[in-house]
Subunit: 273 residues, 3 copies
């Protein structure tokens, strides 16, 4: 199934509008090109909605957020909603400041997101919302582990139910869930956490997969997460003893560029719950 | 002849002021260092003109444009004109929004450009004053082909005549023209389109070549286009079966770093019309 | 001694807040990850102080400065001071415009810096309160040489005395000094000057070393300078005849990623005066 998802990306070559941070924008653009999609980065409120209008999908990434970019995100998000284009929200560092959390919550209220992708602590910070709605959610872990997997799966499904979005919680184990079904994915390599923006790149990749498979956002997001994890494994296999995260960063992008639909189908390591 | 152009860059080491996008700024800076020039990136209106004043050339690149940067572009462009320093305009994605097109047309009115470099759809959007570009990449229907080469050559010369600038239209075949003479260049490799900002890097490189050869902007721009295309060929020759656009991006910069004037002279593949 | 400094970085994994330029932000983030620290880039005044509050150290880098970022720098710097967190100031291109020099001098007045790191012309421009830098690269006449080494050492100590900061003047020879003691470091390779932002990366690395060794800022800064220079040597040793500054950039980061405390201890080449 994931085979077709990647085939569709390669065939349709979706154009993805990214309102994103300046730390990893270059890697996100090259990752989109690697999978067969096309990137456009534009973040000014005077053109954000127009740019979204000529694209097939939108990534909203909260890294290096500014008030100016936040306005553009609202305008672009609403235009994408009006056009029924997929919107991927990456709430980078959402727990790091009150302002960023308010910004993320405001976006969630105003823009219907197709996929929300972050690590466990980011998704948790987003789900806890204003005033930290304690209770069950309060003792959620910041990492997905074999021990908390069932609980985190239930949490992802519940947050998907609440938001209407596919929720992708990524880490050592990844969970991609809608309100009823969860993919639990074990692709990936620990060294990915030594590359800045591996998560941002995954969010951009997810936008490409969902834009090229618009009727199956859950499966498309799961396929993107498997592809990125598999790329992490392949890239690690190429490293020499002198190579570090600088070279690894390039090999991650290379691995997506060279990934065939067959490789993805065979290499994907997941279960459905 | 192109040999001397590169020799002059290496000898004079021009300092190039870039007001550019945050997606490819790092690659543009490393490309300038690779050819022997020095980069400075500064985009605030409070210092843009002063920075231009200590430099030898200016690149204005419309990627990730903002109102703030646009004001800096006007100030820097006017200072460069007053000092008779070369100005290279890269109208990234100019057809992607009305606002960006208006911004580009406003710059063309206020700032005398030495070279305008873009892909076919960007240059057409600029010349025709209306849309035509899909995102920042050349619309496939708007490529230079063997079939439309004469027509595109005439178009480039006419736009050069109108603007007083050297016009560089790049793609599978490149045309670099002033009102009377056109270089038609066949260096390059299709994989260059899988690297974000290969065009931005070429614009920065062009600024270095023109700044180091101020009396011959047409030949200098043509030499830069040949050098970039040749780098694309050399970089492709180095790729292993596992390498993709991540590694290719680095090899492009490496190829300019290692390029000798002799290699450029021998490898340049062009005709003059 | 430098061995322990790097061991502490790897063990404590300090979180570093960077208010920095968009040209080299990605490399700075990957360099921090390479040494074992974690990066956060955030530059909006609405969250800058909050972000600083959850971090262990702050880097203020003046590249691609804007009025908006400058306000964030003041807020973050004051918060870091209030929390006694180390602040590293990198006055990129401070001599290139009056506005940038005023901005740097204003920061020095309002924020107590733990380390100030720049090339000779930048540090001179800052110390003398007037021009001297050509672009963002060291003016050739302003390099540290064997001939001016004693004079430059005295200058660095005097500026350290005046500011209360450790002063790191980097170039072919590096000087890292407080008011009484100077490390003169001869690690490094000339090719480092062909990589944009090698200095920015060093400033980020210095923040990690100082944050992990808060009681010994002079030694920690000297260790970071040695580590970066040694990385430049190691990376150069890996280059093939076709490799240029594109590949070298990655190998620099790789070398820090792979550097053991033992390698640093053995490879550090310095004298104390």
């Amino acid at each position: 199934m994931f085979r077709e998802m990647l085939e569709n990306v390669r065939e349709k070559r979706p154009l993805i509008h990214n309102i994103t941070n300046y730390v990893t924008a270059n890697d996100c653009a090259n990752m989109l090109l690697a999978c067969g999609a096309s990137p456009i980065m534009a973040d000014d409120e005077q053109e954000a909605a127009d740019i979204t209008g000529i694209c097939d999908g939108l990534t909203i990434n909260l890294g290096t957020l500014s008030s100016r970019k936040l306005r553009a995100m609202h305008l672009a998000g609403k235009r994408a909603n009006a056009l029924s284009h997929p919107v991927i929200l990456d709430p980078v560092g959402v727990g790091a400041s009150c302002w960023r959390r308010e910004a993320a919550l405001g976006l969630l209220e105003e823009v219907k997101c197709t996929v929300i992708r972050g690590n466990a602590s980011e998704i948790k910070a987003l789900a806890l919302g204003r005033g930290g709605a304690a209770g069950v959610d309060a003792d959620l872990a910041d990492e997905i582990t074999p021990q908390n997997l069932e609980k985190m799966t239930a949490f992802a499904k519940a947050f998907a139910e609440k938001t209407g979005a596919v929720v992708a919680v990524t880490g050592a184990i990844d969970i991609v869930a809608d309100s009823r079904t969860a993919y639990r994915i074990r692709n990936g390599h620990p060294m990915m956490s030594a590359v800045t923006g591996a998560g941002c790149q995954l969010s951009a990749l997810t936008a490409a997969f969902v834009a090229a498979n618009p009727d199956r956002p859950l499966e498309a997001a799961a396929a993107a997460v498997c592809a990125m994890g598999l790329a992490g494994e392949i890239a690690f296999g190429r490293l020499s003893p002198q190579d570090g995260n600088g070279t690894y960063r390039n090999y991650l992008i290379d691995a997506i560029y060279r990934m065939t639909p067959q490789t993805l189908e065979k290499g994907a390591d997941y279960e459905v719950r």
